[in-house]
Symmetry: none
Subunit: 231 residues, 2 copies
DNA sequence: CGGTAATTTAAGGTAAATTTAATGTTTTCA
DNA sequence: TGAAAACATTAAATTTACCTTAAATTACCG
């Protein structure tokens, strides 16, 4: 079970992470709403524990975004008890909350209860069919398939994930390390040659002329981006 | 919405009753577990608020009986916070609890949240189809049977559940972890070899040539999906 | 409690995917 | 302009994901 923790206070975040991992949960920890959102978009999350007061994208607004893509249980952490009754009772999308300071046993118990119910009713709604289009490229996330001009592209897993990341973030430049972290999911030493090989393979599969790529642009010294010239 | 209150302290019971009725809930009040059980057997109840410490049939034992006939949300009221974490976390059937003394707003909020979720879950169930067809495969959910070309498939429980999930979501790629979570419903470490073995067994039972499967496709590095080539 | 079915674990094999190695090309900068 | 760095390409080496089968374990029933 994958749990997302979004909490800007480092010691709280780490304490929760350790306790959850001790209870066999796989934990993704974010220090703020934006980081949490990136995790939500790229990982399968079964329950989220969100701090209300976070810089930038706060807990409430993160929940609003989250609800556009998922129906997972959400537990809020708050130092302010007032207002939470309204959030909970008015159906703004939260399932539970804990007031800081809280006992770790209580958090674990409430996580357990929410996951139990969630499982019982298959509340993890499979993400609705989502199709991403960019130029002549199309990705169908549900079936993990990719097309160019409606012709299927025979991508292997790494190539598909690279293309998905780029198509979910058109025009954004990714360093090779970022690509590595996002697709390989590791955050230690890597050899960037592996990335270049995969980019080359991906170009071979999607570009009309891979040596003069139309879509996957190299930004020398920086990284790669998905970019197609306007016509 | 019909709410059951089981609480031996008269003033608390009445206070809750009045507040809930002020919020348009229809309330059935019981002064002990036995009376609550009689109500549960004869009325349609959507959520129960149960006091733990009641003479005779206490809250925990009432919950056990309740769970033999119903899956409604249950909120406990307790003066003793210890032990509730276990009840909640270990899946003994409770959904939430409040420690006395509690604010009425909080009770109302938590009732609202539980009913909202419960209603979502129920809404999901209503839209389920009884018979699902995909290619030559048919599943009859009412009788938990599966057919290929009208010939019964001899599936055991796990195989049936796997096939059902796939047929409810044709073309969708499921990671092995997703299959595990959906069919096994566990939230700790699993060995994906178990999944592969079951997929192999399922293929042996539904595919004409299991080594060149027509329906259950492997997406190497990603997962499996139900997909039949168009004819 | 014994027998049987279902499920999980263990083990071996294989094809595909991934990584590494090697070489060539392009770009940047002093 | 030449050297160095970054990048691209291709193929070989290595690893991994997957499949199958059978043994071991667990669950269930009479």
């Amino acid at each position: 079970m994958n749990i997302l923790i979004a909490e800007d206070e480092t010691d709280i975040r780490n304490l929760i992470k350790i306790n959850l991992e001790d209870n066999q949960y796989k934990v993704f920890a974010a220090k703020d709403g934006l980081e949490a959102w990136e995790i939500l978009k790229s990982q399968e999350i079964h329950l989220a524990v969100l701090d209300v007061m976070m810089p930038g994208l706060d807990g409430f607004n993160l929940l609003r975004k989250l609800r556009t893509i998922s129906n997972i249980p959400v537990i809020f952490l708050t130092a302010r008890m007032d207002e939470m009754d309204k959030v909970l009772g008015l159906g703004l999308g939260a399932d539970d909350y804990l007031v800081k300071p809280f006992s770790m046993n209580e958090l674990l118990a409430r996580i357990g209860a929410q996951l139990r119910r969630s499982h019982e009713y298959q509340a993890q709604k499979w993400v609705d069919n989502e199709v991403i289009e960019y130029g002549a490229l199309t990705i169908d996330k549900k079936s993990c398939t990719a097309y160019k001009d409606q012709i299927p592209l025979e991508l292997n897993a790494k190539e598909y994930k690279l293309l998905l990341l780029l198509m979910e973030n058109p025009e954004r430049v990714f360093t090779k390390e970022q690509l590595y972290n996002a697709v390989w999911g590791e955050n230690y030493y890597y050899d960037d040659n592996t990335i270049m090989v995969h980019i080359s393979h991906l170009r071979n599969k999607i570009e009309t002329d891979p040596q003069n790529p139309e879509y996957i642009k190299t930004i020398r010294g920086l990284g790669y981006k998905l970019h197609k010239m306007e016509v």
